[in-house]
Amino acid sequence: MTASDNPNLRPSKEQIIYANLLLMGMVAGLVIMFITYIVYLTGLLPPQVGMDAISANWGKGIHEYLELTHSPNGWGWIPLLGKGDFLNFIGFALLGLMTIVCYVVLVRGYLRKKDWIFAVISVLEIAVLALAASGILGSGGH
């Protein structure tokens, strides 16, 4: 017997869709990250915070660093996408958002199969990840 002979050995349909979506998002995220970093380093778009200012302050705590470099927190980088340094956040955000997108597909699949426990678990996970990504919890104190 080989792995392909036994249907139990094959991953579920949801698992395959999840894997395919994750792969596409991961590749896109890494390619974008690489390209935006080249744009940043070559100075094609001017940075919001100069390289020397970053290297002079990366030894300081986050609150002091944000104050000294006048950097935004939360989703404050969105209006600064025209700046070389904050352009890199597109790649980071894509990597961080992929799991949420994959979970939305899972919820649909579990609801169709009437697998209520896993549908609820998936919805709760989306809520947790969305809360983390929203910035409500993470961007205070500046």
Binding site: Q15, Y37, L106
Partner: protein, 325 residues
Amino acid sequence: MLNYPISRFRQWCLAVLFFVWSCPAIASAAEAMPADAAAKPWWFWPLILFFFCLVLGVLAVMAGVGGGVLYVPLVSGFFPFHIDFVRGIGLMVALAGALAAGPGLLRRNLANLRLALPVALIASSCSIAGAMLGLYLSRLNPDLIQTCLGGTILGISLLLLFSKNTEKPVVTKQDAIGLALGLKGVYWDDGARESVEWKTHRTLLGLFMFILIGLLAGMFGLGAGWANVPVLNLLMGVPLKVSVATSKFLLSITDTSAAWIYLNRGCVIPLIAVPSIVGLMLGSILGVRILAVAKPKFIRYMVIIVLMFAGLKALDKGLGLGFLG
């Protein structure tokens, strides 16, 4: 006939060892002289970091540990970056590695989605709490977090040294929670040419353990493969291959939630994050190729020693003892 490739390989290994030991030494020397470190051009540390992460990626694959667990203690100990940035970027590094490995593991049915989902919900919720607690403690006193990190890293190195995973644990009876959640499966073992059925036991205790794992992952930005695998394998009775694969996939969810907290707080600086992520990913690809001819056991022991040293260094730094420079 084999002498030439073996001697070439030995030379290569020596070069890698020299590099991995020399980088912290260089960084440490520079750290002891803050004025000198500040005088370096802006590209100096990101460039050193890229090559350092390349070597870390190779070693992480060969030692069977995640990139995050090596990255945070070593970079926070030997580079001039504040621990807030190192933890945030450590999570991005672990996340990128997990996202890269996840699709393949899911397609081969080694990572089990059904096992991962309930565990991920607990771990990712707690990793948010861990990240917030870590940032709060760091604001109170960064030495506090450095000391806790040192203790945790020493604990991890002992865990890696003494834990003896079981390839196919025997689970005679599945518990009620495992049964209700359907935490069972079957995978194809290529080595033994057979399909292996598995199910969980002690599921409730295992799920509780992921509260602690999530907290530690978020607080220190370590990823959590070092803890996921023993809990899944030794406690819950999941076969080693499924445990390792599910753990890797699990990191893509756990680290996402904690990474967002650090990202939103501004702890991810692109100038040092991208060389870290790219370096570690390229290193992992290289590591997989080298794994075929290397002696992973030796590398594993070497990594454990490096981790112990990094843990002691973090403790030394946190407690302000100054024994290790």
